[in-house]
């Protein structure tokens, strides 16, 4: 299968501008500045059908077109490199190994929405990826791809690498903007959407690293080429982060629409010897679980939704028969409770309550009625929060209970696991 974003990632010097250029980099940018008006760039990206790779799958071209054209306010582009949802570790590879691809994508997107200031919000723990991005940005300035009058086109753009402070919520686009403004990273009610009123109250586009990395290729090879990969509604390739109980975990780029089993079994080698597959979290920790019989579900936005889950960020977490599902639910809810920004009550109080209930069951102190209480709390969070983190905590929790209720019941009745979790350290 043809790789696109990962074509050059294994070359040792790809992060340096000379190698990037030698391998065909910085050809899309001059073409854009010379041949296309901003609206034409938006049109090309819209025609390609590129959808956001950060989780929601929203059309990139459409998002860019929402930015008002006749406003006197400055406009901003933010590249979302917060990458903090358990299971997800793909943007890091692009930043470390092909940072100029990300930079070139950012410059083209910024030009399309006529922003003169762009940011890359990199999670604080990513010291090395941020260093690679800083280095790439400095090289791009030195060669005139950033700064004043880029390649004599009259277009100006500054790009700042901004590092975070260790909070998953900073990846939520409105919280990212709060954080970038120097505030606590609290989410904001939408509307207004960032495209209209974002950073410093100005029109702002937030796009994921992988989304933007696709843009230079779309410019160079055209929307029809892009659509030759993937499915009609989910065109292109996608990087899947495969983790958990598989023989060969890793980041794999494949066409959207390939069966889940292709990534888990053909690329990942399946679950370790002597074990059987128990469940799959297909799109990052916030997505509902799938069962083994659903392993041939195509990996695209529509098929995943039809199967009752989500493509999300493309983080496939494989769970084998060594896991107690109450333990699994605990691992997930502990994360979401810790990461709730605390701004709205259903999520702040609800995730804390869920954490307490699930930990109590796992600890052998569950009481009759706890399962229904968990579902009740879930129902009181879902759809009642400022940002999607509340829902993100509920979706896997409800799904685990629905699919593995017997393990919860066993736990409460017998004060111990039906399956004793055992994952030794090698």
């Amino acid at each position: 299968m043809e790789k696109v974003l990962f074509t050059h990632v294994d070359q040792p010097e790809q992060h340096r501008i000379e190698t990037y250029v030698k391998n065909g980099g910085y050809q899309a940018l001059p073409k854009v500045l010379r041949d296309y008006k901003p609206d034409e760039v938006i049109d090309i990206v819209r025609k390609s059908g590129l959808r956001g790779r950060g989780g929601a799958g929203f059309s990139a071209g459409m998002k860019w077109s929402f930015v008002p054209r006749d406003t006197p306010k400055p406009k901003y582009l933010c590249c979302n490199a917060d990458e903090s949802e358990p299971g997800t570790c793909k943007d890091r590879v692009l930043m470390e190994r092909d940072p100029h691809l990300v930079v070139e994508g950012i410059i083209i997107a910024a030009y399309a929405i006529q922003a003169h200031q762009a940011f890359i919000y990199v999670r604080g723990e990513f010291v090395y990826p941020a260093f690679r991005m800083e280095q790439a940005v400095a090289e791009a300035y030195a060669k005139g791809y950033l700064g004043r009058n880029i390649l004599d086109s009259g277009y100006d753009l500054d790009l700042v690498v901004h590092t975070g402070g260790g909070a998953y919520i900073c990846g939520e686009e409105t919280a990212l903007l709060s954080s970038l403004e120097g505030d606590r990273s609290l989410s904001r009610i939408r509307p207004p959407f960032p495209a209209v009123e974002g950073l410093y109250g100005c029109p702002t586009v937030v796009n994921n690293v992988e989304t933007l990395a696709n843009v230079p290729y779309i410019i160079n090879r055209g929307p029809d080429w892009f659509r030759s990969h993937g499915t009609e509604k989910s065109p292109g390739t996608k990087i899947f982060s495969l983790s958990g109980n598989v023989k060969r975990p890793g980041n794999y780029e494949v066409d959207l629409g390939v069966p889940l089993s292709y990534v888990i079994n053909d690329l990942g080698g399946g679950v370790p010897e002597g074990h059987t597959l128990k469940a799959i979290i297909p799109g990052g920790a916030s997505t509902p679980l799938l069962l083994p019989h659903q392993i041939d579900t195509p990996l695209d936005f529509e098929s995943m939704a039809q199967a009752g889950s989500m493509l999300g960020s493309g983080a496939i977490i494989v769970i084998d028969d060594g896991a107690c599902m109450v333990w699994t639910a605990m691992k997930l809810i502990d994360f979401f409770q810790h990461e709730s920004c605390g701004k709205c009550t259903p999520c702040r109080e609800g995730t804390a309550w869920l954490k307490q209930l699930i930990n109590r069951i796992e600890g052998g102190e569950g009481r009759p009625g706890d399962i229904d209480l968990i579902l009740d709390v879930c129902g009181n969070i879902m759809g009642r929060t400022i940002c999607p983190l509340g829902d993100a905590a509920v979706m896997p929790t409800e799904s685990i209970i629905k699919l593995f209720r017997n393990e919860f019941e066993y736990h409460i009745d017998n004060k111990t696991c039906l399956v004793k979790t055992s994952y030794p350290l090698a």
């Binding site: 903090s84 358990p86 604080g124 402070g165 260790g166 954080s179 410093y200 691992k331 994360f335």
Partner: protein, 163 residues
């Protein structure tokens, strides 16, 4: 003064890069953390002065971000991911192994002030699990043998630095 001239210079460079200097609060906290190894109110006060921003705004932002310890920690802050992908590959046992090896529990610091051990949320190293971070460096695909090696290397480095 706690912050060095170099840290203050870094903060000022950052302030000039943003349309609003408040945006440099997080970069300023990062610069101070890199220098000192943790953050506290005395540091917020100095940042507030350098940035000409009210103390409370600095303190408020700092209190939100868990990446910066708010009290003194060991020279090496061992941060082990305890989320799902790492847990499916032995993170619980990794934590137990390090606890036993260093003779401390989660949240504690060794008596020589060399190591502090904490559990953290997903580090974005899920496909190379189990993963941990010590100060700025990631360590992935961890095994007992690898942990032994890492700790021994850091101890050796410390001895060399002390000589």
């Amino acid at each position: 003064m706690i912050l060095t001239d170099e840290t203050i210079r870094q903060i000022k460079i950052r302030m000039a890069r943003y349309p609003s200097r408040r945006s440099a609060i997080l970069p300023a906290l990062t610069a101070a953390y890199k220098q000192v190894g943790h953050l506290n109110p005395a540091i917020y006060r100095e940042i507030a002065r350098v940035m000409d921003i009210p103390y409370i705004e600095i303190a408020e932002a700092a209190s939100f971000y868990t990446m910066f310890p708010k009290h003194e920690v060991g020279r090496y802050l061992i941060q082990v991911c305890h989320n799902i992908s790492c847990s499916l590959r032995g993170a619980d046992n990794l934590i137990a192994y390090i606890e036993q090896k260093l003779g401390i529990a989660l949240g504690e610091t060794t008596p020589d002030k060399l190591f502090t051990l904490i559990a953290v949320e997903c580090l974005g190293g899920c496909a190379t699990a189990p993963t941990m971070q010590i100060n700025d460096t990631y360590y992935e695909n961890l095994t007992r043998a690898r942990v032994d090696e890492i700790i021994a290397d850091l101890r050796a480095k410390e001895e060399q630095d002390n000589r």
